[in-house]
C-alpha cells in the first residue's frame, strides 16, 4: 500500500516503485483522476493489470490502455444519472446548470448543457461561478427569473454549494438542487445557515449504498455494514462506497489469479475481460475486451444529501 495523497508526482513515483522494485502483479488505484492521468500510461507500458475508480473519460481506452479497468462511474455516467433524475423522476423541463470556474466545472457544465438540450430539455440558465464569490444572489436570481425548475450543480466546492443553499432559503425558493456528490459532503452541515437549507438537495449516490424509506440497505450491503461494525471499522466519517469498492477490487484481483491459475498479467486481464456480470458489494460490474467501463449506469441513483448514516444515504424521492 502506498499513500500518494492525491499528488500525481507521488503517484508516479509509487507506481514505478511498485512495478520495478516490489514487482507487484496487479494494482488497485490510484484513487484520484489527476494521479491516474499520470500513472495510466506508465502502467500500460508495463502491461500492469489496474483497477481504479477515477471518473475522467480518457482514462479508459481498451486500445491504448488494455490493462486499465474502471470499477466506478465515469463523468458521463454521472451526467446521465443526474439528467435522468431531473427529466424522468422530477419531471422538470427547465433547468439551470451551474458549475465553478475550474477546468472540471467548465467541462462538466458544457457537457451537461449539451446533453440536456439533446434530450429536449430547456437549459434556461447556465453559468460558471468563481467558487470564492461571496454572494450567490446574482446567479440564483437569474436562474429563478429564467424559470428554472431544478438547479444542476457541477462543483466540488462545498463553500460555493453552501452559499447557493443559503441563498435559495433567503429567496424563499424551493427549487431542488441536483448534482455532484460533494453536495452530500459532511462539511456542509456546518456551512449552511440552518439545517433545513440542506433539504431538497439531491447528490449522486449508488443503489448499493442507499437506504430506503424504512432505513434498510440492500441485503448484501446490510450484511457488509454489519460485518464492518463487528470488526470495529468506523463508517461515520467515510463513505461506504469507498470501502465496498476497495473490497471488490481486492476480490476481483484474487479471483483473477485463482481463475487464471497464475499471477501472469495477461491471464488477469483476460479474466476481467470475460466478466459479463460480476456481483460486487459496490455494484455489479461488466467488462469485455472492448468495454472497460465496468460500472452500470442503472446502479447510480440520487441521494438525499443531508441524510448520511454509516457512510450511506437515503434514496432521493421518486425511487422505489
Amino acid at each position: 500500500m502506498r499513500d500518494t495523497q492525491g499528488d500525481p508526482t507521488k503517484a508516479v513515483n509509487a507506481t514505478q516503485e511498485l512495478i520495478s522494485q516490489a514487482k507487484v502483479h496487479a494494482i488497485w488505484g490510484p484513487l484520484n483522476s489527476g494521479e491516474a492521468l499520470a500513472t495510466t500510461p506508465i502502467m500500460a507500458r508495463a502491461k500492469m493489470p489496474d483497477l481504479h475508480p477515477c471518473v475522467v473519460e480518457t482514462l479508459i481506452d481498451p486500445v491504448k490502455y488494455p490493462n486499465a479497468f474502471r470499477i466506478a462511474p465515469s463523468n458521463n455516467q454521472w451526467d446521465d444519472a443526474v439528467r435522468n433524475y431531473c427529466l424522468k423522476i422530477l419531471k422538470v423541463k427547465k433547468v439551470a446548470v451551474i458549475g465553478d470556474t475550474t477546468g472540471y466545472g467548465v467541462t462538466a457544465v458544457g457537457a451537461s448543457v449539451a446533453a440536456f438540450k439533446k434530450d429536449g430539455a430547456e437549459v434556461v440558465y447556465q453559468a460558471n461561478v468563481d467558487a470564492t464569490q461571496p454572494d450567490m444572489t446574482p446567479d440564483m436570481l437569474r436562474a429563478k427569473n429564467a424559470g428554472a425548475e431544478a438547479i444542476v450543480v457541477w462543483s466540488v466546492s462545498t463553500g460555493m454549494e453552501a452559499r447557493m443553499f443559503n441563498t435559495r432559503a433567503a429567496m424563499n425558493w424551493d427549487v431542488p438542487f441536483v448534482g455532484h456528490p460533494s453536495m452530500a459532503s459532511g462539511e456542509l452541515a456546518s456551512l449552511v445557515a440552518k439545517p433545513e437549507n440542506w433539504k431538497k438537495v439531491y447528490a449522486i449516490g449508488y443503489k448499493s449504498c442507499s437506504y430506503d424509506s424504512a432505513g434498510k440497505l440492500p441485503p448484501k450491503s446490510e450484511d457488509l455494514v454489519a460485518r464492518l461494525s463487528k470488526a470495529n471499522v468506523a463508517l461515520n466519517d467515510t463513505l461506504l462506497w469507498w470501502v465496498a469498492g476497495g473490497i471488490d477490487c481486492i476480490e476481483l484481483i484474487a479471483k483473477a489469479v485463482a481463475e487464471s491459475g497464475s499471477t501472469d498479467s495477461a491471464g488477469i486481464i483476460k479474466y476481467w475481460n470475460s466478466l459479463s456480470t460480476y456481483p460486487g458489494y459496490f455494484g455489479n460490474y461488466r467488462f469485455s475486451p472492448t468495454e472497460h467501463n465496468g460500472y452500470l449506469t442503472e446502479e447510480i441513483v440520487m441521494s438525499e444529501s443531508s441524510t448520511a448514516k454509516n457512510g450511506t444515504f437515503a434514496l432521493a424521492p421518486g425511487y422505489t
Partner: protein
C-alpha cells in the same frame, strides 16, 4: 436587486479596502509592496474561526487573539521577507521574497487547517436579509479602523513618527527616530488591520485557505486605483471596486464580472497612472 448590490458590494468593498490599507501600512515605512497582505486577511478568518468555533473561546477573546497572531505574522514577514531585501529595493527582490512568504502561509494553512472552507460564527447576532451582519460588519469594521488609524497618525507621537518615516526615511533617521523599530511596529499594525479584514469578513468569505490569493489580488486594485500609500484613496477605491464588482455580477454574470472589473481597472490606470487620488511625483532631471 439594488439593495443586494449595495449590501454585498459595500461589504466586499470594505474588505478589499482594509486589505488595501494593509498594503499601504506596510509600504509606508518600508517602500515595499508586501504580497502577504491578502494572506493576513485570510488568516484573520482562519484564526477567528479556530479560536471561537474550534477552541470555543468567547468572541472578544478570539478577536484579540486573532489580532495578536496576525500581528506576529506581520512581524515575521518584516524579518524574513522585507529586511533582507531593503538594501536592494531597486532590484524589486521583495516581490519574490514576500510572494514566497505568502505562498508558505497559504500552504501551511492548507495543511494544518484543511482545504475545505470552514464556518465562521455570528459575531453580533442580529440582522437578516440585506441587513444581515455579514454585510454590515465589514463596513463598520472598516469605518472604525480608518477612524482609529486617523487618530493614531494625527494625534499620537508614534503615529506622527510613522508619518515622518513614510515622508522621508533619511530625514527621520537623521532626527533620531528609531526607523527599524517603527518599521517592525508598522508591520505588526498591518497584520492587525489584515486580521480585522478577515475577522469581520469571515461570515461572508468563510474561513478558507484560498481566500488569501483572492484578497491579495482584489486588495491590490484599490491601492492602485487610490494611489500607493494613500489610505483614503484605498478606502474609496475598495468600496467602488466592491460595488462595481457586485453590479457586474448581477448584470453580466460571474466570469464576465471579473473581466469587467479588470477592464475598468486598466482604463483607470491608463487615464490616471498615479491612481485617482495619488499625486504625481516630481523628478529632478
Amino acid at each position: 436587486m439594488l439593495a443586494s448590490i449595495l449590501a454585498s458590494g459595500l461589504a466586499a468593498g470594505a474588505i478589499y479596502a482594509l486589505v488595501g490599507v494593509t498594503y499601504n501600512t506596510m509600504f509606508s515605512t518600508s517602500r515595499v509592496m508586501s504580497f502577504t497582505a491578502g494572506q493576513l486577511a485570510m488568516l484573520g478568518g482562519v484564526f477567528g474561526s479556530m479560536f471561537t468555533l474550534k477552541l470555543g473561546l468567547p468572541i472578544p477573546v478570539g478577536f484579540v487573539l486573532t489580532l495578536l497572531c496576525c500581528a506576529v505574522i506581520g512581524i515575521v514577514t518584516e524579518f524574513v521577507a522585507v529586511r533582507p531585501v531593503l538594501k536592494s529595493l531597486d532590484q524589486h527582490l521583495y516581490v519574490l521574497s514576500t510572494l514566497a512568504v505568502a505562498l508558505m502561509i497559504q500552504q501551511v494553512t492548507a495543511i494544518k487547517w484543511g482545504t475545505e472552507p470552514q464556518p465562521f460564527p455570528r459575531v453580533a447576532g442580529f440582522g437578516e436579509g440585506v441587513l444581515d451582519e455579514k454585510f454590515w460588519l465589514p463596513v463598520v469594521a472598516c469605518a472604525v479602523t480608518i477612524i482609529g488609524l486617523e487618530y493614531l497618525y494625527r494625534r499620537t507621537l508614534v503615529g506622527r513618527a510613522f508619518l515622518a518615516i513614510a515622508e522621508d526615511n533619511f530625514a527621520a533617521r537623521a532626527l533620531g527616530l528609531p526607523e527599524r523599530n517603527l518599521r517592525v511596529a508598522s508591520y505588526a499594525l498591518a497584520g492587525m488591520v489584515g486580521g480585522i479584514a478577515g475577522f469581520s469578513g469571515g461570515q461572508l468569505l468563510l474561513a478558507f485557505f484560498a481566500n488569501g490569493a483572492l484578497l491579495n489580488f482584489y486588495g491590490f486594485v484599490p491601492v492602485a486605483l487610490g494611489g500607493l500609500g494613500n489610505n483614503r484613496g484605498a478606502i474609496i477605491g475598495g468600496l467602488a471596486l466592491g460595488l462595481f464588482q457586485q453590479a457586474a455580477n448581477f448584470l453580466v454574470g460571474g466570469i464576465f464580472s471579473s473581466v469587467a472589473v479588470f477592464t475598468l481597472f486598466i482604463v483607470v490606470l491608463l487615464a490616471a497612472p498615479q491612481g485617482l487620488f495619488g499625486a504625481s511625483t516630481a523628478r529632478r532631471v
